[in-house]
Assembly symmetry: C2
Homo-oligomer: 443 residues x 2
């Protein structure tokens, strides 16, 4: 049996899971590859902390050059977050001809072209199943299993922290602030939760998925994005009355063009009302899920743990196996990922955000007096928005002066909603910010 | 661009879908493979029926030798059901060195070793994603994406006909017989529905999945199997009261052995109470779904259309693409599928059906008189079965002489339930057959 030597950069949560699989379940990996797979070096800045695994002597190092300069190491598993030194290390590893397995979504979403060009230069490969959806094999599903399809849409819950917070707010009727604190205490949210709760992590993952599914290469920072800190506990109650849950949804949706024009691609990340009776609407806690519609396969749905030590390690080690047996190289050569000089151009271009069509949930606090409903209806109607349903509910203020209006619109454009919100905000009868969320009715 | 020539045997529903993708979306397949992929011959006994696709002249043939004897055809898509002439044709195609893509689960479940041996002899490959779960990429998920895991269990809804019938019985409170008729009228069930409703189709698919996930090679006919014709409308009502739906569930579950002994594998196909709040319990209509638990990934779940022209064609053409680019060959060489002389033996053996542990739902019609409950409880207790919950409900017979007892047990063995049912059936107070179903509580 031939030997394959592996180096691991990053001995944090996921790195520990990967080391467990490679060291403690070595025979399993050998069985699936036909090779004696040896983890020979683990690099991290913290060599003191006990990770709870018996480690072969001399395997730890604080210097990634110990991997870079070892010509026998052909695969580097790079599990450090960020786009600074992490980019440098990956480019150096690729320049040395090593194959990369990574979970670093920020790096791929930001420097994909540079990294894949470096890989192509040395005929090496980059595998990144773990970068999106943790243990869910969504990269493989879209890149390989659904390859016969024209993908129509992807609707996905890609951040376990946000879904944990939203699920808990929904279940316990608690506020965003207190639920975030609880999530931090339990280790589901970081001390600085901005990347998660502001939707940046989700936008990076969506950029990667849309590259694979649609061939576009969007700047993830330009993807329209709303975080979950805007969601109020009361919205869960109204959403529930209407049959919906609220999820931080990443959307990539093909908008078919008339003949001779290019299809457009809608990309967005925002808290969205999702029908409770759909698979996506039922995703609770730290789980992730991806709903893919293809023109041949119809609706398909993938669900699993999107983060955590072992689920993510499962995806990383699957990539290690794919890299060893040669599947990774085939897939990414064929798909010409992040290759600006690719032979086949994408047949789609990004849609202008204001042109995107959808249904919306609006909530606004208004004065409870005659004529108010007409003013609100007029602001919507004159923006070209048609009302599908409306709930009016009294508030508990002392004098019953205010009521909440909850409006569900028929299909309209993001631009029309912008216009309506602008008009509403100038009405004297409107006494709050206008809360707006997309609605997704899965067929 | 190099050319790849494809032959299609079987121009029925799925064959038509495959021809649509290969002929009408040729550029898509070429983009994903880097080859000019040409469907050059379609063989079927019915050449007259209009399939609604414009066909190149001369592409149709009634004789599979037109494909067999064309040395330029390197991939044969074989989409005919059955294990007679279909086996002969496949073996001849393989002997001629052609690579096979098929959806024929019966053939693989029955003659897997012979077929894969024929493929190995000629260094050819056999791809069969479409044989299980239609458009759901469950073969790829288990064989590749979850390769780092020891699979703990598979719980799956693998037959759209049965799920359609059960969903409709549940929704409309209708009888099995009338729902089957409706399913036949709508084309969801065949005139002779035995393969579907008796669970044979599901058992074949389970045999294939368990070969890939656990390395076992069970005789599908030996898998303990109960069909859906035993399910009564009233059971949906009681299941619902208890928070469950009823699904025809295929189960493959690893039972961990103590040190030094081999793990055991439970295999079964039967109508099962599935918690409504779990993803599997929520699968409606003709959809299929597979819930996989791996020791690293934890719970993962895959959902989609399990049958039909285009969903199944999506899986078939993904296999065609995988075969062209070389992924299929790598995967099945590495996994040594259906290779009796495989280097790595399975670490598991089939469990004796009576030793399988689970919770059960029992329904029995008994006389409504003093002492009956004690007799029933005694029959269960003396079989070692502990009652978790019990519902007693009067019946609408004129004299109120009978009551329905609905019993949920704690964990027990299949053998203990066999014993209890035997004892119950001999009690004078018991006035009906005893209905029994497994209960699956997904964690």
């Amino acid at each position: 049996m031939k030997t394959i030597k592996i180096g691991l950069v990053g001995f944090g949560t996921i790195g520990t899971g990967v080391a467990k699989l490679l060291l403690l379940h070595k025979e399993r990996i050998s069985r699936r590859t036909g090779f004696d797979v040896q983890l020979v070096k683990i690099v991290d800045t913290d060599l003191a902390r006990d990770r709870g695994i018996p480690l072969p002597e001399g395997i730890l190092s604080a210097d990634y050059h110990d991997i870079l300069n070892d010509p026998e190491v052909s695969i580097v598993v790079q599990l450090i977050g960020g786009t600074g030194i992490e980019r440098t290390i990956m480019l150096e590893m690729l320049a040395a001809g090593k194959n990369i397995v990574t979970a670093n979504k920020a790096l791929l979403a930001t420097h994909g072209e540079e990294i894949f060009e470096a890989a192509r230069q040395k005929n090496a490969s980059v595998a990144f199943e773990a970068a999106v959806g943790g243990g869910i094999p969504i990269i493989a599903a879209i890149a390989e299993s659904l390859a016969a399809n024209e993908i129509q849409s992807i609707h996905a819950i890609l951040n376990g922290t946000c879904n944990f917070i939203l699920s808990n707010m929904e279940e316990h009727g608690s506020s965003y602030a207190s639920t975030l604190k609880e999530a931090q205490r339990l280790g589901y949210a970081e001390a600085n939760p901005a990347m998660d709760v502001e939707g940046m992590d989700t936008a990076q993952k969506l950029a990667i998925l849309s590259h694979i599914a649609f061939g576009v290469n969007p700047d993830w920072k330009q993807i329209p994005r709303i975080g979950i800190e805007t969601v109020d506990g009361v919205d869960f109650r109204y959403a529930n009355m209407l049959g919906y849950s609220i999820k931080l949804l990443a959307i990539a949706r093909r908008i078919k063009a008339s003949d001779g024009e290019m299809d457009r691609l809608e990309l967005s990340v925002s808290p969205t009302l999702v029908s409770k009776s759909s698979p996506l609407g039922d995703v609770k806690g730290a789980f992730n899920a991806v709903s893919v519609i293809g023109d041949a396969v119809g609706h398909s749905f993938y669900y699993g743990l999107g983060a955590g030590e072992m689920p993510t390690a499962s995806a990383v080690v699957a990539d290690v196996i794919d890299t060893i047996v040669g599947r990774t190289k085939i897939t990414f050569d064929t798909l010409e990922l992040w290759n600006p000089s690719r032979k086949v151009r994408s047949d789609i271009q990004l849609a202008a955000p204001e042109s995107v069509v959808g249904k919306y949930y609006l909530r606004v606090l208004v004065e409870d007096r005659a004529g108010v409903m007409a003013e609100v209806a007029n602001a919507l109607g004159s923006s070209g928005i048609s009302i599908a349903s409306l709930i009016q509910e009294g508030t508990s203020d002392e004098d019953n002066r205010f009521v909440q209006l909850i409006i569900m619109t028929h299909e309209t454009t993001e631009g029309a909603v912008d216009g309506a919100v602008e008009k509403l905000s100038h009405l004297d009868c409107v006494k709050s910010d206008i809360i707006r969320m997309r609605i997704y009715d899965e067929k």
